[in-house]
């Protein structure tokens, strides 16, 4: 970030008034100006699932998924009012996942693993352009994602604009994605070929500066998908052909002057047409030092199971699934982000640990044997130059 482009409420408000004077009109769009610098960044994440508890496995090795994610991006200003960005991401997934849930000799549910059969590489390329004016900006993003068994083409438009003397920012976005599913045949048999999925999504939100030390935001997201929504790599997975989702997200940030820190509180409510609803609460503490910021955070998540979820799928129903991700459970995440700014360079590190358990949730439901625990680590290097 340009150190002279402070985001304080005072300077944002002053800048807005200055923009009415010709002397500052070159800088009229300070509140919403294209980046003054070209930014190049690389980010690498590693996601690693713990082995599944051996007592939950009926057949197969207990090891699960690992994913390596590498992202490269460049964003550059073009003229006085535009920016363009290119974003390339590669995900390399390897490992095994639960194929289906059956019962052992004692009638207890257990997981049959896919074996280390999955090895997949996904490449996503996105291009974006953004236009800035004095009170807002708008962007168009087109991206294409390719992997062996899945292609997706998506387009998104978003806009945000400031009102009330720059103290209130409205944001809206719409997106559309067309996906093609063509699963690969591996060690496990797959019974699906050439399916399609269309998804439309819309968001509307507002953030409001309440005082020199407090900001609040609220937003509503609606997503509708139509097409093939089942998981082709699970044996007993037949989901409805459409999926409506709605999510209400809220956030509050409070800056504590004496501590040079900010308290961050976020809450999200989600509900969908499959009967799933969930609550997510996140608490963070961003401690600022001279050049660095350390942000430990804690997240709690609780989900109600889908109407058609059973621990062992009921194949007599029109829709069925034994995917643990559709079960009732609770999850906790403990993590920390650290960022240091050294002139033109910024380095970021983040690590988090995620645990899930059927007993931690707010909702009733039988425990899925394949609930996952994982580690995730991320590092990023960002370089900005004229």
């Amino acid at each position: 970030m340009n150190p002279l482009r402070s985001n304080s409420a005072f300077l944002r408000s002053l800048t807005r008034t200055l923009a009415t004077l010709p002397a500052y009109q070159a800088a009229a769009a300070l509140a919403d100006a294209p980046p003054a610098f070209t930014e190049v960044g690389v980010r690498y994440s590693h996601y690693s699932e713990d082995d599944i508890d051996a007592s939950s496995v009926i057949f197969g090795a207990p090891s699960r998924y690992d994913i390596d994610i590498t992202q490269l991006w460049i964003e550059a200003p073009v003229g006085a009012s535009w920016s363009v960005a290119l974003d390339v991401q590669n995900d390399y997934q390897t490992g095994a996942s639960p194929w289906f849930v059956g019962t052992d000799q004692n009638g207890e549910p257990g997981v049959i693993m896919s074996g280390a059969s999955i090895q997949d590489n996904r490449v996503e390329v996105g291009v974006a352009t953004r236009y800035f004016w004095a009170d807002g900006n708008a962007g168009l993003n087109v991206s294409r994602s390719d992997e062996d068994d899945y292609e997706a083409l998506s387009m998104a438009f978003d806009a945000s604009w400031n009102t009330a003397g720059n103290t209130r920012t409205w944001t809206t976005s719409v997106s559309n994605s067309r996906d093609k599913v063509n699963p690969t045949q591996g060690v496990i048999p797959v019974f699906v070929t050439d399916e399609e999925l269309d998804t439309q999504s819309g968001y509307f939100g507002v953030s409001q500066i309440l005082s020199r030390t407090a900001i609040v935001r609220v937003g509503l997201n609606y997503t509708y998908s139509d097409g093939y929504l089942s998981d082709p790599y699970k044996l007993n997975d037949q989901r409805p052909q459409s999926h409506e989702r709605i999510a209400l997200s809220t956030g509050y940030r409070h800056f504590l002057i004496d501590a040079n820190a900010s308290v961050q509180f976020d809450y999200r409510y989600y509900a969908d047409s499959w009967g799933v609803d969930s609550h997510t609460v996140e608490l963070g503490w961003a401690q600022h030092f001279e050049r660095t910021t350390l942000t430990p955070y804690f997240r709690y998540y609780s989900q109600r199971e889908a109407d058609f979820f059973e621990v062992v799928a009921d194949l007599t129903e029109p829709h069925f699934a034994d995917d643990y991700r559709l079960s009732s459970y609770g999850a906790m995440t403990l993590g920390a982000r650290w960022a240091i700014n050294l002139g033109d360079w910024t380095f970021e590190l983040e690590g988090e640990r995620y645990w899930s358990d059927a007993n931690w949730g707010l909702y009733d439901g039988n425990s899925a044997p394949a609930l996952v625990d994982f580690w995730r680590g991320t590092m990023a290097i960002i370089w900005r130059f004229d």
Binding site: L4, S6, S8, T17, L21, E290
Partner: protein, 298 residues
């Protein structure tokens, strides 16, 4: 505006402009601003507004002067009333330029009735000071605004390397012709030796100080900045320098800092988020710029 000025420019190539013509254009722009906003010139807009105080008539404003008063309003609100362009009349009680009887507290109560930005009426008709004897003084804004106007004029003329300094406030265009950032010295309040230099490019540095004019009263030394809420001089930082994208923003941040106690100033400066340097009355200095002061670069 009554202070020394320095202008350093590399004339752009191929435009037919010379350093002399650019200096002339800047001088003309600064003179125009002085004629409009000086409280010492009888026919300035500021003097016209002040003369009309208590008379019942509004003085019409053009977009520029309306915007400057709007900025004054924002600074008044953001500073909790400490930055007040009507506070100048308090100088009649605190005479920093008088050899004898510099302080006349008997006037203070009467003068304070003429102070208060919240009393000033602004409508589509213009501005009106409702109390006879009330005055506004845009000196706390116009010097920085003038530096920014000069920068804009020079940029419009194609200048890509330049520096303007108006009585201690500095605005820069690009880097020096050598490609190195401009080096600006920060002077120690108690002496003429610089504390160090800071590097600027496409940025401005504004310094507000409470040390240039002082007076002794009842055994204590007071600086010339007055608190409009109490009528008494402020006991704040000796000087504050802030760096911003433009001189007016940097000046607003440093001026409001100097109107507060050193502790409150630190909070204000941290919240404002621009790089700053604060010098206290013991000549100690603090702030993000303190670590960047570079004596060798001067």
């Amino acid at each position: 505006m009554g202070g020394p000025a320095t202008l350093v420019i590399a004339p752009p190539e191929g435009r037919g402009t010379t350093a002399a013509s650019l200096v002339g254009a800047v001088e003309s722009r600064l003179a125009t601003l002085e004629r409009r906003y000086s409280r010492y010139l009888a026919d300035s807009l500021v003097s016209t507004i002040n003369r009309a105080a208590g008379g019942g008539a509004f003085t019409r404003l053009d977009p520029e002067s309306a915007a400057l008063l709007e900025i004054a309003d924002q600074l008044w609100r953001s500073s909790g009333g400490l930055f007040d362009i009507t506070s100048g009349v308090l100088r009649k009680a605190w005479r920093f330029d008088a050899a004898k009887t510099p302080v006349d507290l008997s006037q203070l109560e009467t003068l304070q009735k003429k102070v208060g930005w919240d009393k000033v009426e602004r409508t589509s008709e213009g501005v009106y000071l409702p109390v006879k004897g009330m005055e506004i003084d845009l000196g706390g804004l116009v010097k920085e605004y003038a530096a920014d106007c000069a920068v804009r004029l020079l940029r419009d003329e194609g200048v890509t390397s330049g520096l303007i300094e108006l009585a201690g406030d500095v605005a820069t265009i690009g880097c020096q012709p050598s490609g190195k950032p401009w080096q600006v010295a920060i002077r120690a309040p108690q002496g003429s030796d610089p504390l160090g230099g800071i590097a600027l490019s496409n940025a401005a540095a504004a310094t507000s100080g409470n040390y240039a004019r002082t007076l002794r009263f009842e055994g204590r030394t007071y600086g010339h900045l007055l608190n409009p809420l109490t009528g008494w001089p402020v006991e704040g930082p000796t000087s504050v320098t802030a760096i911003g994208e433009n001189c007016l923003s940097a000046g607003a941040v440093s001026t409001i800092a100097c109107l507060q106690s050193p502790e409150a100033a630190m909070v204000w400066l941290s919240e404002a988020g621009l790089p700053w340097l604060m010098i206290d009355h013991n000549a100690g200095y603090s702030g993000p710029l303190a670590t960047e002061l570079d004596l060798s670069a001067l």
